[in-house]
Symmetry: C2
């Protein structure tokens, strides 16, 4: 009996990604001996072709983005990566070349982030490709960063730069000049999960989450979780040189950067007295961290200040699927 095509596909493209306990992806399930003295941290994110990535994105970056958006959830909890499971629903016409690129991207990121695949499923779909990944990480028990816990007066911090992902999508869709090989498009296709910073601010950050659906919308989650308000200062938003150039040419982009998605940066709260510690953690991990506002007593609403220091209304509430 030869292998049916579905299993030959798994053997050819995915078996090389399997790690300890994955049983060569040829059993009904995988085995995992939980690391002693650690708590597990688990999250699952899905991506749909044409919704979360563009149909002509390189398959290498699609696999890596799928892994990285999930790694970003681990970063937000201050967790370290351990393993993942993945299901792929693929159109029947998916070529071996596409699969090869997809798996090669995953292999590269497995090396970069130190984790491996444990198991999953590969099925066909008459619709667009639909990818789902469950990530497993670990933390010392009780040390995971949570969304609740910020206090009035706390600084509001963000990692890296904001808006590159949304601008990168605009470039790739032809709504903004630029090219697919540039910084912005690359940031849309390849988010940078802030794992090192996330673990470095365990014990310092009072609340944390990752920014994926737009800074303003995600800040709303942090405020509801803590029952707090906040002031968000757009003038303080950390921008990459490429994003700064866009805003310089057309200032209307600035508020849109605070509502665009695909940032995958960490948004967190810390006691102002801990600012030196946060900055030291940022330096030690090579990850910029910037104060972009502060928390106030409730209600859970953000007051957004424009570059002139006056309160403004943001254009829309951020990305929602429904």
């Amino acid at each position: 009996m030869s292998l049916p095509p579905e299993f030959a596909l798994i053997a050819r493209h995915f078996r090389g990604l399997a790690g300890e306990g994955a049983l060569d992806l040829s059993d009904d399930a995988a085995l995992l001996a939980p690391p002693p003295g650690r708590e597990l941290v688990l999250a699952a994110d899905a991506m749909v072709e044409g919704v979360h990535y563009l149909p002509d994105d390189p398959p290498e970056t699609i696999g890596r983005k799928l892994l990285r958006v999930n790694l970003s959830d681990l970063a937000a909890m201050g967790a370290e990566p351990l393993a993942y499971l993945m299901t792929t629903a693929l159109p029947r016409g998916t070529t071996p070349g596409w699969l090869e690129g997809f798996a090669a991207g995953l292999a590269e990121d497995q090396r970069l982030f130190g984790l491996h695949v444990l198991g999953g499923d590969t099925v066909s779909t008459p619709g667009p490709a639909c990818l789902s990944l469950t990530i497993i990480g670990t933390v010392p028990p009780g040390s995971a960063l949570r969304r609740g816990g910020a206090r009035p007066g706390d600084d509001l911090w963000v990692s890296g730069t904001i808006g590159d992902g949304a601008l990168g999508l605009a470039v790739l869709q032809g709504r903004l000049p630029g090219d697919a090989g540039g910084h912005l498009a690359r940031r849309y296709r390849l988010p940078e999960p802030r794992l090192a910073l996330g673990t470095a601010v365990r014990g310092l950050a009072r609340a944390a989450m990752d920014v994926s659906d737009g800074l303003a919308q995600d800040l709303g989650h942090l405020l509801r979780a803590g029952g707090l308000g906040a002031v968000l200062d757009l003038a303080a938003l950390p921008l990459s040189p490429a994003a700064a150039a866009v805003v310089e040419a057309e200032s209307a982009w600035l508020p849109r950067l605070a509502t665009g998605g695909d940032d995958y940066e960490l948004l967190f709260a810390a006691d102002p007295a801990d600012a030196p510690g946060i900055l030291a953690a940022a330096r030690a991990t090579g990850t910029p961290a910037t104060r972009i506002g502060h928390f106030t007593p409730g209600p859970p609403e953000a007051r957004v200040l424009g570059t002139d220091g006056q309160a403004i209304d943001l254009p829309r509430g951020g990305w929602s699927h429904f």
Copy 2:
């Protein structure tokens, strides 16, 4: 700031399914303290509307089928359920009523099988609904059932009945007389994960897997894993009264039952000396177990005997997505 629709949907339909460590499905990830002294068993299976279930299947059974096909993987490893994560990619037009039924079905099966949801993601898709579930179970370390390990001379066992799922699909598609409320259609929509039998034969079964893509094809996996051949006796196939009636009316159905999918029964190997133990485990768990053949020295091929005891060729190799 009010909740955007996507998060309101999660809060309304899925928060009630969340268990300990799920953090109300409102953080970036879930926490899981691994049960001391147990090994984790993990699997992930996806289902696509129109491929794995019919668009007009009741939403209650769709959620339950998604959970049960994953629970069947745990049963095949002899594991006990602990928790799950789920991602749903849904068409934008999905109604609240559909979601309510889907979640109600999951709630019912959570109670039946003793597990809860830990986390997940809900996104939109322009294509058919695409559901993915990662299941987590536990076993005493080293006791998981595996696919390799059968020996020549071992009995080949199967749980429950074979062919109901494939016949149920034929009924629902109008290829076979019958009605949607009958036994066969119900078996297609609601597989029965054999968790109790799976744990009961730990230490007795030398190899095990679950039958999901057709008995003959899945037997092929067991044979390749063990480097063994087998004789499969179609006359011994356990049939439900409804399936037996179909075969009696048209005997050509019998070989098709050995290649149809959606059985979700356990297929396992055991020393003939352990047959009394297997039968006792079957009685104790209220799950039929039937000897349908035996293992032979390699190559990894199955010799299939028809009802007259003569070797036959099966019509096709089973379900493959590609």
